[in-house]
């Protein structure tokens, strides 16, 4: 029941919220907060009871917290289509589940200051939260697809109604972009169903677990692993497109700057923290294990595009003057590491990729929260409208420094471990050695834009025409922002949201073993599956 509960708790919150009259804003917020806290508690329960030695991936008996119920079985023409409600956790998903719970809670906290249509906001937010969690837990492809699609509609409205000036354009761009990928995924799902048998029941199945085992493919079927089966390559690319649009990988990243910049802070937090990870997770869980030989053929290209994302994203970030847009492009750049790590095909690289997903999933919300802080106060995000903020907002400057260092890959913070593993993994394999070296450029470039941003906004003197005023005498100066009545530096709520994220970032940076223990067995298994295909291909 645990998995069903952790997934549908937000749905219950949404339904309850529908019944609360829209004037009682505080009640609405509390209901969502309770649901999010509940999710975190369940995530901790899962973590504590998780047995790291079971690899899962392609064997249902090695998954944990498995829940299975027959969902529907329909006869279409000659044959039967049936899907099950199948949920389970293994090393690939456990870190993501924990991350989702944490980020969803932080998102609720960040949503506290939303005043417009609070009821609708939280109903949509909870719907989205439910489907995000469901995506990571679903092991039946049909179920996965439904959760995947259900994230889109609330997101459209959340960006489109509560977003910034250009929100209509950003919302529809996000929706259509992601939808194009999703509909191609649908075709792949249909084809896979017809080609795979569940070893337990002997019938066609949507189970992603069964699909990961090449022996479950019906020989002679459309997607059977045979010589020169072009359809497999087509299906691979259909799924690949769907997932890399979400990652996002250059050149399919252009929806991200618009969506992130226009979305309100809590939504940027969730978008960057969790939704982007759906892409990486999809590649690892679905795309690569099901079509390992196609992956092997294109692994170098995937690594190439990963490096392109790293470098191109970083260059774009350097060019930005808007703080939030810079952070958005830095997301593109950092998700490139995920692709590079996976394309290394060894467990070192892949664990780096997963660590990067987890670490970025914490750092990115931090960055967006921090952006939100300054935007709420100054109503601008232009970096040249500040200068000298460190004097007046020391706590804020401290957190920003931490987040920037994490993003850069400073040792003792989680970003370092992740990026180091990715480079080590990619370097170890001959074909990606050069790419790995080029990828390190990304660290250099991150330093460039992050440190420049810090310098522009925090150090030095207050710039002329800055968005804030300083009063008082030398030594006793007192800053204030126009239109902002609250505390200049971070207030209690904001610190409460940032501190846990920062803490985990530091802990993992120093002692990554707990996370690595959780993910290694499954990643090893995935690496085995992928390498087995390479051996077959090379014979």
């Amino acid at each position: 029941m645990t998995l069903t509960l952790i997934t549908f708790l937000p749905l219950i919150a949404a339904l309850i919220t529908l019944l609360i009259p829209k004037e009682q804003k505080q009640t609405i917020r509390l209901v969502s907060l309770l649901a999010a806290v509940g999710q975190v508690i369940l995530a901790v329960v899962i973590w504590q009871n998780y047995n790291p030695s079971l690899a899962g991936v392609d064997d249902v008996s090695k998954f944990q917290f498995v829940e299975r119920a027959a969902w529907f079985s329909v006869e279409l023409g000659g044959y039967t289509v049936s899907a099950d409600y199948l949920m389970g956790i293994d090393g690939l998903s456990v870190t993501m589940v924990i991350l989702t719970a944490i980020v969803a809670l932080v998102g609720v906290g960040a949503s506290w200051t939303i005043e417009k249509s609070v009821k609708s906001y939280f109903v949509l937010y909870n719907l989205m939260s439910m489907s995000m969690m469901g995506c990571f837990l679903a092991l039946d492809f049909f179920l996965f697809y439904i959760f995947w699609e259900v994230t889109l509609i609330p997101m459209y409205f959340l960006i489109g109604i509560w977003g910034g000036k250009n929100r209509e354009y950003a919302a529809i761009k996000f929706f259509i972009y992601t939808l194009v990928g999703s509909v191609l995924m649908l075709l792949a799902i249909i084809a896979l169903y017809a080609s795979v048998i569940d070893p337990e029941t002997g019938r066609n199945t949507f189970s992603m677990v069964a699909m990961a085992n090449q022996q479950n493919f019906i020989s002679g079927s459309a997607l059977a692993p045979s010589e020169g089966n072009l359809l497999r390559a087509l299906a691979f690319f259909a799924l690949f497109l769907a997932f890399v649009i979400k990652v996002p990988m250059v050149p399919f990243h252009t929806w991200l700057p618009d969506a992130h910049v226009e979305a309100p802070t809590p939504i940027s937090v969730v978008l960057a923290g969790v939704l982007l990870k759906l892409g990486g997770y999809g590649l690892l869980r679905i795309n690569f294990p099901i079509f390992p030989e196609v992956f092997q053929q294109f692994a170098w290209w995937i690594a190439l595009f990963g490096v392109i994302s790293i470098v191109y994203g970083a260059f774009c970030a350097i060019a930005q003057t808007d703080f939030k847009k810079m952070v958005a492009y830095s997301s593109v750049s950092h998700m490139g590491f995920v692709l590079l790590g996976i394309a290394a095909v060894n467990s070192l690289g892949m664990s780096g990729a997963m660590l990067q997903m987890f670490s970025h999933g914490l750092l990115s919300p931090m960055m967006f929260l921090l952006v939100g802080v300054i935007y709420e106060r100054a109503h601008t995000r232009e970096m040249d409208k500040f200068g000298g903020l460190a004097k007046h907002m020391p706590v804020y400057a401290g957190f920003i420094m931490l987040a920037f260092m994490g993003n850069l890959g400073m040792p003792a913070l989680s970003g370092f471990v992740a990026e180091a593993f990715v480079f080590l993994g990619a370097f170890a394999v001959e074909q990606t050695r050069l790419l790995s070296v080029i990828g390190t450029l990304g660290i250099l470039l991150s330093a460039a834009y992050l440190l420049r941003a810090y310098k522009a906004m925090f150090t030095g003197e207050r710039k002329p025409n800055a968005a804030y005023e300083v009063e008082g005498h030398h030594g006793e100066e007192h800053a204030h922002f126009h239109d902002w009545k609250g505390k200049v530096d971070l207030d209690g709520r904001e610190i409460a949201l940032l501190a846990p994220l920062a803490a985990i970032v530091i802990i993992i940076g120093v002692y990554p073993a707990p996370v690595l223990d959780l993910i290694m067995p499954s990643l090893n298994r995935v690496a085995e599956i992928l390498s087995a295909a390479a051996n077959v291909a090379m014979k």
Partner: protein
Amino acid sequence: MPNNLPEIIEQVKLSLGAFVPEISLSALFLLVITLDMVLNEKRVVIPMVSLVGFVITGFFTWQQLDMPNQEYFLRMHVVDPFAVFFKFLFLGAGALAVLITMDSEELGEKNVANIGEYYAVLIAMVLGMFLMASASDMLMMFLALELVSISSYILTGYLKHQIKSSEASLKYIIYGAVSSGLMVYGMSLIYGLTGQTNIYEIAKFISANEVDEVTLTLAALLVMGGFGYKIGAVPFHFWSPDVYEGAPTPVTAFLSVGSKAAGFAMLIRFFKVAIPAEPTGELAFDWVNFFALIALVSMLLGNFAAIWQSNVKRMLAYSSIAHAGYLLLGVLVADDLGTQAVMFYLAAYTVMTVGAFYVVILIANKIGSDDVNDYRGLGKRMPLTAAALTVFLVSLTGLPPTVGFIGKYMIFTALLGKGTVFLTLAIIGVLTSAVSLYYYFKIPLNMYLRESEDGAETPMESSAFANALAAFLMILTIGFGLFFTPLANFAKNSVIMLVMN
């Protein structure tokens, strides 16, 4: 066919037993006309009587499920599960049409003096659709098609004082008359080639004898002209946008659902039965590739033209052209899976399209406009109505968890695994679905993301009954999206068409 009179009369008498639903509809028709002449207070009684009549007819139709598949009336009329499925669909659509007419101000007391005839013609149209689904002879197909078409012309032009309505009706009848002219010409050629008008006999003749291929192709294309016009596929679609925009919206809703479904029923029956595979295994007329072409063009044109529309009804017209394309994809996969997918999709399409048009009616009642830009801010002012419309639009796009998604899923499942051409069609189908998101979502965009221009925020909700009906359709849309097994099984069991040996 017997040649002497006593035997013919015997057969007709026997057939009457199989004709009960149609007789019941005819009786309802006469009853409504009489009530129209007799009563003064017609606005509530006549619709209620129609609804009761539909329910009774539904009961008789349900009884037909147990009957053996057979031809009646001198081999003109067929009773089989395929026909019964469609009859239920037509009754559902008709009942919904009656309900939404009651709520429409366009056809309300201020604008239309005598509404009784409207309901009578509506009933006649349903009767015509029944006949279309059961026709097994070219003559019957022609007559049934004309009954439905002529009724449609009348209903389209019902708002005599509005020029748009009369103009739409004129355009409709001109296109319709030309299309039926093409169709009967094609039928005459087929008759000339085979000497038969019964579709089973035609099939027998074509399989047994050498038939001039060119003429047969020409004839089939001409006949397709008539069918294509009814389902609104390219290049026979030109009447659609004007008629959808000009007709009173309840009529538009009924046309877009009922006559499309009837057209498909007839089309599937005709092409599956009458044009069989030749002894060499190839189709006498390669209608599969022909349909593929039409489907392709319909999906492309329908989806792309809809992007430029600002009138909601016109946009829904182009979108229904696109949906005709998706349905044709299911038709051209000639096996059971394809037919089942088409039938399921038509049932799903009924619910979501009638729902969408109904909300358009409710909104037009309040703001008096069908232009999408006037929908601004309605999310706040008519929350339930706007939410229902959003659900219907999500379903039309084909997103889970709605029934529209399941319908598209079934059609694409039918397409895959049958060859490269079909795969290409499937890919184009899914991509155009993604494109359709853009124009469908212009409506929620305006309703929710934009504020109304005069800043008005007063709530404008419709009556409780209207909300209940919209909510009911919305629940069906999502409910069937999650629990679609009963409907899918019903469709599967109904694929059984009468087959001649």
